[in-house]
């Protein structure tokens, strides 16, 4: 069998290989939320600019993505900000930042009207394994944040269609 060209389908059937074992271990991970404290927020220049010197509190924001993405093109994302809220402390916006995407500002969700359940689900694109950060802005100017880490692997076989 000829050696495959680099970057193309790595065909192997030997589970003894360590990198395969690590792959197998990764694949055994259930769909778990991957949180990180705000102190561990990754350095993202676009986010630093957005924060403008303010420091978000690591509380009440739950950012949920799979630990291991099926495909980096479409990764389910859920961000929830726990209440209770008052009109003065309601969430006005949630911003999503990417550590490794070419465009670090992934999305901004705005809540001009009061709602007691602040939860947004969408599907994101991830260029590579990385941390994602959600920053919630409250009406009184307070900031809350949470990070999540996602592993993105390349496909087993390339698709040229």
């Amino acid at each position: 069998m000829t050696k495959p060209a680099s970057g193309v389908c790595s065909y192997t059937l030997k589970p003894r290989r360590r990198w395969l074992q690590s792959g197998a271990a990764l694949a055994l991970l259930p769909w778990l939320p991957a949180h990180a404290a705000a102190e561990e927020l990754p350095q993202i220049p676009a986010m630093t600019a957005f924060l403008a010197g303010r420091k978000p509190v690591a509380a009440r924001v739950r950012l949920t993505l799979p630990q291991l993405a099926d495909n980096g093109q479409t990764v389910p994302m859920k961000v929830t900000v726990d209440g209770p809220f008052t009109p003065a402390t309601r969430v006005t916006a949630v911003n999503l930042f990417s550590e490794a995407n070419p465009v670090p500002e992934m999305a901004q969700f705005e809540f001009p009207a009061y709602v007691e359940r602040v939860e947004v689900e969408s599907r994101v694109r991830l260029a590579a394994s990385q941390k994602i950060v959600a920053v919630a802005t409250l009406a009184d100017g307070a900031l809350l944040a949470s990070a999540a880490e996602v592993i993105v692997t390349i496909a087993g076989c390339m698709d040229g269609t």
């Binding site: 000829t2 389908c9 990764l26 093109q73 087993g156 698709d159 040229g160 269609t161």
Partner: protein, 264 residues
């Protein structure tokens, strides 16, 4: 009997026995052991496929339903003009495709049959493979068979195409010199990088493939596999692809249609 006659008789006997065994359609994957690709998929893919609201494939199903009821071509007929409500008239249809049709003296997959309806019955231009229009009708029609078991016929005139498909499936192809069988019959369940090799069934197609960011046909998926092993891809709509589709459908006999499926 002379020894040469005896020898000839033995030879004929052996060859006939071989022919009988070859025609017995032994399955490289036994029917009780069949598993849909969804059982190899990650949680995200499973969640997406099981929710009709967020399954992107339904954008095509809905588009197909509208198109089904829209007049087309020189005749100004819609699909509904002849077939009525697709939700009842198309129930079970996708389970029988690909199938042999005497009108064309050949095996057609569902997309080819849809296009033949367009040209012959509506006086319209056939749609290109993987076009949004063709995929939407294909998705709509296939969806009407969701939950029903695949049940194609390989009898009589369909046999030749089936055999060609089977030979292709078990032959080595491409720079990597791999056969479909090596991965999907002999090594399903094992890892390819971080992915689980599936049994390679087509029961979820047309499917929204995350890699494509779009709905696509089984033919596209087969071509993608061939690309992956660095083999030449037949052009979309090529007869070889229909042969393979027929073999795959027979191989997956009894598996439920999942269209519109979601796959990575």
């Amino acid at each position: 009997m002379t020894s040469s006659t005896a020898l000839r008789a033995i030879l004929v006997g052996v060859l006939s026995a071989h022919a009988v065994i070859a025609c017995a359609q032994e399955r490289s994957l036994p029917l009780p052991g069949l598993r849909s690709g969804i059982t190899f998929a990650g949680a995200d893919v499973r969640a997406m496929q099981s929710d009709d609201v967020s399954n992107p494939g339904f954008l095509w199903v809905e588009g197909g339903e509208k198109r089904w009821n829209t007049a087309a071509g020189a005749t100004g007929k819609s699909c509904a003009s002849c077939h009525g409500d697709g939700r009842s008239s198309m129930r079970g249809v996708a389970t029988r495709y690909p199938r042999y049709d005497h009108a064309v003296k050949g095996v057609e997959d569902l997309d080819a049959r849809i296009n033949r309806c367009r040209t012959d019955k509506q006086g319209a231009q056939p749609w290109a493979r993987e076009s949004e229009e063709l995929l939407s009708i294909s998705a709509y029609v296939s969806y009407q068979s969701r939950g029903l078991p695949l049940a194609v016929s390989i009898d009589g005139p369909a046999r030749e195409a089936f055999e060609r498909g089977r030979v292709f499936y078990h032959a080595r192809h491409g720079q990597m010199n791999l056969s479909c069988s090596q991965c999907h019959d002999q090594n399903w369940g094992k890892r390819l990088l971080v992915e689980n090799l599936s049994q390679g069934h087509g029961n979820a197609f047309p499917a929204y493939r995350l890699e494509w960011q779009s709905l696509g046909s089984l033919q596209r998926r087969i071509r993608a596999c061939l690309f992956g092993i660095r083999a030449e891809m037949p052009a979309p709509g090529a007869p070889e692809l229909t042969d393979i589709e027929l073999y795959l459908a027979w191989r997956a006999q009894g598996l439920s249609i999942e269209a519109p499926g979601v796959r990575r």
